[in-house]
C-alpha cells in the first residue's frame, strides 16, 4: 500500500481494530449489474467505508495485439472497433493515422475533415453514454433516456454515412469507406438541435439538483498531482485542472484550423468530470459546425494504387484496376509500409489513445500496441475509492467511463 493511500485512511483501520472489528469483503463483479463491463473490485468495508480495494481486470482480454500480428494492415481495422465500442470511429482514425504516418502518406483535405467530423460525433456519443449511464445509476432515469435518445439520432446519422451503428470499421489505410451523404449538413443540424435541447433539459435536471450534487460534489477526488502521477489523460485530467488535450497539444488532422476551448475543472471530483464532459460536447458540436463550413470538395482517399483499392466499377471494367485490386488483396502482397515504427496519439473519448505500430516491411503489422486511455484511470481507481462510501463506488466508476474493450484488449 502506497504512502498516499495510508494518508487517505487516517484512522479507520486503527479505530475498528481497537473495537475488534474485521473488514467485510464485498466482491463487485466481474459480472455485476452496476459495473459496466467485466471488471472485479474486491472492496474491504468497515461499516460502509471502503478501507481497501483490489481491482482485478483482464476478464475481456481477447488478445487484440497478438491477433493484429497475424492480420494484414487493413484487417486490423475491424478489431480496433472493439477497443472502445462507444466511440469506435476515433479508434479507427487513430489506427489509420498511425499506419499512414509510418507509410508517409496523408489523406486529402476533405478526407481529413470527414474523419474529424466523424470523430467528434463519436466523441459526443461517448460522452452521452457516460453521463447518461452514470446519472441513471444515481436514480436519474430521465436524464439517461434523454441522452440515449439523442445518441440514437447520432447513431442513425453515423449509420447513414457508414452503414453500421456500432462496429463501424470506417477508415482504411489511406482513406475512409464512404464520404458524407449529400444531405449530411441538414441531418446533422437536426441531430445537433435535438442534442442541445436534451442537454438543456439534462442541465436543468442535474446541474443544480441537490441529490445529484450531494452524490457528485467532492466524491472520487483525484487532485492534480496524483492525476499527473497516475498518467491520467482526457476528461479526468482536465477535471483536475490540467488543460491537456491531444487535439490542442499535438494537433492532428485539421484540428489546428478550428476554434475550440479545452474545458477544465479545479477539484478533480465527479462533478468536475460531469461539467467537463458536458462542455466538451458543446465544443464538439461547434467543431463539427466549423468543419462543415470549411470543408472543401474533392476526393477523400489517397490517390495511390499501392494503398487504396480502386473503384468497384473500374475493377469490373478494366484490367489494370482488376490487377490492382488483386495486388492489394492477395496474401503476401497488399499494403507494405517501410520498416520502422511510429507512436501516434489521438484524443479518444477518455483521453490519449496511442497506437505504437511497428512494421517489418511485410503486409502484416509486426506489432500493434495500444495505449488505452482507461488503463491508467483504472489503475487510479484503487486510490480514488479508498475512504469513500461503498455507494459512491458506483458514481466514481461511472465517471471514469471504463470501457473493458480497450482496457483488456
Amino acid at each position: 500500500m502506497s504512502m498516499h493511500i495510508e494518508q487517505k485512511l487516517p484512522s479507520y483501520r486503527s479505530e475498528s481494530k481497537a473495537m475488534g472489528l474485521d473488514p467485510m469483503v464485498i466482491n463487485l463483479g466481474p459480472s455485476h449489474p452496476a459495473m459496466h463491463g467485466t471488471i472485479r473490485i474486491k472492496a474491504h468495508l468497515e461499516g460502509e467505508t471502503i478501507v481497501f480495494a483490489d481491482v482485478e481486470m483482464g476478464y475481456l482480454h481477447r488478445g487484440f495485439e497478438k491477433t493484429a500480428e497475424a492480420k494484414t494492415w487493413n484487417q486490423v481495422v475491424p478489431y480496433t472497433d472493439r477497443l472502445n465500442y462507444v466511440s469506435p470511429i476515433i479508434n479507427n482514425v487513430g489506427y489509420a493515422l498511425a499506419v499512414e504516418k509510418l507509410i508517409g502518406i496523408q489523406v486529402p483535405e476533405r478526407g481529413q475533415y470527414v474523419r474529424l467530423i466523424m470523430s467528434e460525433i463519436s466523441r459526443i456519443t461517448d460522452h452521452l453514454t457516460c453521463i447518461g449511464a452514470s446519472a441513471m445509476e444515481l436514480g436519474a432515469f430521465t436524464a439517461f433516456l434523454y441522452f440515449i435518445k439523442s445518441r440514437e439520432y447520432f447513431w442513425q446519422l453515423i449509420e447513414e454515412v457508414t452503414g453500421a451503428r456500432l462496429t463501424i470499421s470506417y477508415t482504411r489505410v489511406g482513406g475512409i469507406t464512404s464520404d458524407l451523404t449529400p444531405d449530411f449538413k441538414e441531418r446533422f443540424a437536426f441531430c445537433a438541435a435535438e442534442l442541445e435541447k436534451a442537454m438543456a433539459e439534462v442541465d436543468g435536471l442535474l446541474s443544480r439538483n441537490r441529490i445529484f450534487l450531494d452524490r457528485m460534489d467532492g466524491v472520487g477526488v483525484m487532485d492534480r498531482e496524483r492525476s499527473i502521477s497516475y498518467g491520467f489523460t482526457g476528461p479526468l485530467l482536465r477535471a483536475a485542472g490540467v488543460p491537456y488535450d491531444v487535439r490542442k497539444a499535438f494537433p492532428y488532422l485539421v484540428y489546428d484550423r478550428l476554434q475550440f476551448e479545452v474545458p477544465t475543472g479545479s477539484k478533480g471530483d465527479n462533478l468536475d468530470r460531469y461539467h467537463v464532459r458536458m462542455e466538451e460536447m458543446r465544443q464538439s458540436l461547434s467543431m463539427v459546425r466549423q468543419a462543415l463550413q470549411q470543408m472543401p470538395e474533392g476526393p477523400v482517399n489517397v490517390a495511390d494504387p499501392r494503398y487504396v483499392l480502386p473503384e468497384k466499377k473500374e475493377v469490373y471494367g478494366n484490367i489494370e484496376a482488376l490487377m490492382n485490386h488483386f495486388k492489394l488483396l492477395m496474401p503476401g502482397h497488399g499494403i507494405r509500409p517501410p520498416q520502422g515504427e511510429v507512436y501516434f496519439p489521438v484524443e479518444g473519448g477518455n483521453g490519449e489513445l496511442g497506437f505504437w505500430v511497428i512494421s517489418d516491411g511485410s503486409d502484416r503489422p509486426y506489432r500493434v500496441r495500444v495505449r488505452p486511455p482507461c488503463f491508467p484511470l483504472m489503475a487510479g481507481v484503487e486510490e480514488m475509492i479508498l475512504g469513500e462510501q461503498v455507494a459512491d463506488l458506483i458514481p466514481i466508476f461511472g465517471a471514469i467511463n471504463m470501457i473493458a474493450g480497450e482496457l483488456d484488449r
Partner: protein, 179 residues
Amino acid sequence: MSESALYQRLAESLGLQGLQEEDLGTVKALVVPAASWSAAAQWLQQQGFAMLVELGAADYSKHPLPHPGRFAVAAHLMALPGFERACLKAYLPAESPALSSLCGLFAAANWYEREAWDMFGIDFKGHPELKRILMYEGFEGHPLRKDYPLGRMQPLIPMREAVDYELVRQAARRAEGGA
C-alpha cells in the same frame, strides 16, 4: 524536433556516451542502456517531465533489422505545463530481461510494468507487486513474445475453492492472539 538537445543534456549529466536516437514519427526516442533506465527517467522527471503517459514493450526477435537486444521497453514522458514529450527506450537481452522499476517515480508505472511482465516476461526490479494483470494466475508463458504460437492451448487449471472469509477472519484473529 527539440528532443535532441534535451537528450544531449541527459547524456551529459548521466555521463553516457554514444547514445542512439530512434524516430517514432511523432517523437524521438532515446535509447538508453538498461542500467541507466531509472536514472534517465528520474533526470527527466527532475526537468519537469512529471507524467508517464505510456510504457510499452516489444519483442524484436523476428524483426529483419538488427536490434541491440531482443526486447525493448519504451516509456513516453510528458512535461507540464508545456506538454513537451520525451521517450526513453531500453533494449534487453533474450535471457532474463530485466529493468529497474519506475514505480517509485510514477504511480502509473505500476500497472504498465505488470502488463509488460505479463505479456513479455520482462522483470521489473523493485516493483511492489509484479503479478499478471491481463492473464490469470496459472497461465503458462508470455503471450506477446514472438515464439508464443498464436493457437497454443493452455492447460486447464484446477477449479479454485471459493474463499470463506469467515475462516480468513478467524485465522487473522488467532494470528493476532485475540479471541
